[in-house]
């Protein structure tokens, strides 16, 4: 009761997430590992991946695509939510995901996927920040105010792969990082995803 889905899982397994000294404005986030993230995915039936500039910088599109494929093969519904201004140029995510052979039909526009977040088990945010920042909805003095965002915060669980707690292009802190249902996994996206892929493969062959 009142525990997050992740907390229930970890409680059952006995693994306690380490609290990191990652403080911004006196707020702390809990740092999770790639193993924690993979564990969360085990019971997911629907996954939405939100790629962002961080995926591009890490050139993690191939590893991300591999993870998406593995999940799809084990019966999970996997889609990619592409925000219109994700990355640093129009179509940035598209060109990289195309290179990784992600089929066009699992790439979904914001307008067509935003209502689905609420019924989605896990959102994996890969190096995206401003496009999933809830303050864009209500914070009038935010540089993001008025920009439509992806409703990642409405999903049941959120995994965020990020290099650090540094703000995105707009320089605005993101309250989604501090949400109790959010699992922050710090590090280079490619490395994190490589770990996750390894974990998923192990479990599939076990």
């Amino acid at each position: 009761m009142n525990r997050s889905f992740a907390n229930v899982l970890f409680g059952a397994v006995g693994a306690a997430p380490e609290a990191a000294a990652a403080a911004t404005e006196q707020r702390t986030v809990v740092r999770y590992t790639p193993e924690d993230a993979t564990f969360l995915l085990e019971n997911a039936q629907s996954v939405i991946i939100v790629p962002g500039y961080g995926m591009a910088v890490a050139q993690a599109q191939h590893t991300l695509a591999e993870l998406g494929e593995l999940l799809t093969e084990s019966g999970v519904q996997v889609r990619y939510a592409i925000h219109p201004v994700a990355g640093r140029m129009p179509g940035h995510m598209n060109v990289l995901l195309a290179e990784a052979d992600v089929p066009y039909d699992v790439l979904v526009e914001m307008e067509h996927i935003n209502d689905d977040f609420a019924s989605t088990d896990v959102v994996i945010v890969v190096g995206a920040n401003d496009v999933v920042n809830p303050s864009a909805r209500y914070k009038k003095d935010s540089p993001l105010y008025g920009m439509p965002i992806l409703n990642a915060d409405k999903a049941r669980n959120v995994i965020i792969l990020k290099r650090s707690l540094k703000p995105g292009f707009a320089g605005e802190d993101n309250e989604l990082f501090y949400d109790s249902k959010t699992m922050m996994v710090f590090g280079d996206a490619k490395q994190t995803l490589t770990h996750m892929v390894q974990q998923v493969k192990k479990k599939v062959s076990a």
């Binding site: 640093r88 008025g146 920009m147």
Partner: protein
């Protein structure tokens, strides 16, 4: 309130300011729409499609201008030097104009629009803030232009781009170098990579290194003093003479090793900096290609001639000034959406409500109530800012 969409008359212009798909949103905002006959033909949008979406087709251009309360165009004012005078005569006090008008490159044209009492919103001046991204026409056009620049280069190069190992020997991959990594440069790098080229890029702003790598290219580091190279809007700032000389020295080696060089360095309202000198061109392999995307403002290569093909030492130099017009279907689609989003900000229940407290309106507005309202444009007036 009537929105009029004239046919573009600028030589070689094939885009149209509004496409049929965007009409419903504007009709919903309370506008009626009239389109000049054939306006969308070159872009692939026939009159019948406009009519099907609720616009009326007008054959008499003068009548369209006379009746419209708002005119949506691709080029007008300073962006359409040949047609400017004639069109101005058709316009009247209190009319609104939304278009590319070259406010910084041709401020005197803005003064003329002000003199006619026209309220002008320049698509070049949409601020680069998150809320206005859906209206950012410069990024939209740069996206198309960057992609097309690479296709042009690929078609002009006497070599193919990708590496192929065949029974007839190995084809080495093409090397492509982009100078200036804005939206056009990034898109060019991504497109070139898709075609199989080895890509590298240089920009005077060191912050751009991550971005270059994010499209799979290598960032070229030149040991230069680049503090203060980026302005408030994220554009590269103009540097001094000595800086450019040193930059050329270091750049010569990089240019020489590439089959294709695409230059995109434009400074808003100013003459483009020379980045590739005639001497550097001499150092390139015969058969190499330079695509100078800054040709409209003078070009980044000393040898560029706008809209012409120049051959020196076996190197082909192209200076296309309207690459978006070579993919008018999608260029118009993007531009139309940018314009529509701006209109939706300004039009409430069929009336124009110009909220000058809104940063987007304030920065985009060039002329209003008989004056040049825009500070940046006013600062430029009185100088010979026209660059040809």
């Amino acid at each position: 309130m009537l929105l009029g969409v004239p046919k573009e008359r600028y030589p070689g212009e094939t885009r149209v300011a509004l496409i049929p798909a965007d009409l419903p949103a504007l009709l919903k905002a309370g506008l009626t729409i009239a389109v000049e006959a054939g306006a969308g033909d070159a872009a692939g949008y026939p009159d019948a499609e406009y009519q099907a979406k609720g616009a009326s087709i007008v054959s008499d251009r003068a009548k369209l201008f006379a009746d419209a309360d708002i005119l949506a165009r691709v080029r007008a004012g300073g962006a359409d030097p040949d047609g400017e005078q004639a069109d101005l005569a058709l316009m009247r006090k209190g009319q609104y104009l939304i278009a590319f008008v070259e406010p910084l490159g041709a401020p005197e044209a803005a003064a003329r629009l002000a003199g006619s009492g026209v309220s002008t919103l320049a698509m070049e001046l949409i601020p680069r803030i998150s809320r206005a991204q859906s209206m950012d026409a410069l990024s939209s056009m740069a996206t198309i232009a960057g992609y097309k620049a690479v296709l042009l280069a690929a078609n002009t190069l006497p070599r193919i781009f990708p590496m192929l190992m065949t029974a007839a020997g190995t084809i080495a991959p093409a090397r492509l170098f982009v100078i200036g990594v804005g939206v056009a440069g990034l898109q060019a790098l991504a497109t070139a990579k898709r075609l199989g080229a080895i890509t590298e890029a240089y920009d005077v702003r060191p912050a751009v290194k991550d971005q270059v790598e994010s499209v799979g290219a290598k960032f070229v580091e030149l040991p230069l003093e680049t503090a203060g190279s980026e302005d408030k809007g994220g554009y590269a700032k103009a540097q001094g003479e000595e800086f450019y000389r040193r930059q050329q020295e270091l750049m010569a080696t990089v240019v020489a090793r590439n089959d294709v060089v695409i230059t995109t360095a434009a400074i808003p309202g100013k003459r483009s900096p020379i980045l590739v000198t005639a001497a550097m061109v001499q150092g390139m392999k015969p058969g190499s290609v330079i695509i100078d995307m800054a040709a409209e403002r003078g070009g980044n290569c000393e040898l560029t001639r706008a809209n012409e093909q120049v051959r020196v030492n076996g190197v082909t130099i192209l200076g296309p000034t309207n690459l978006p017009a070579t993919a008018p279907g999608h260029a118009s689609q993007l531009y139309s959406r940018n314009v529509t989003n701006l209109l939706r900000l300004m039009v409430k229940e069929g009336q124009i409500v110009l909220n000058l407290d809104d940063e987007i309106i304030r920065e985009t507005l060039v002329t209003h109530a008989g004056e040049v309202s825009n500070g940046r444009v006013r600062d430029l007036m009185g100088t010979t800012a026209r660059t040809t």
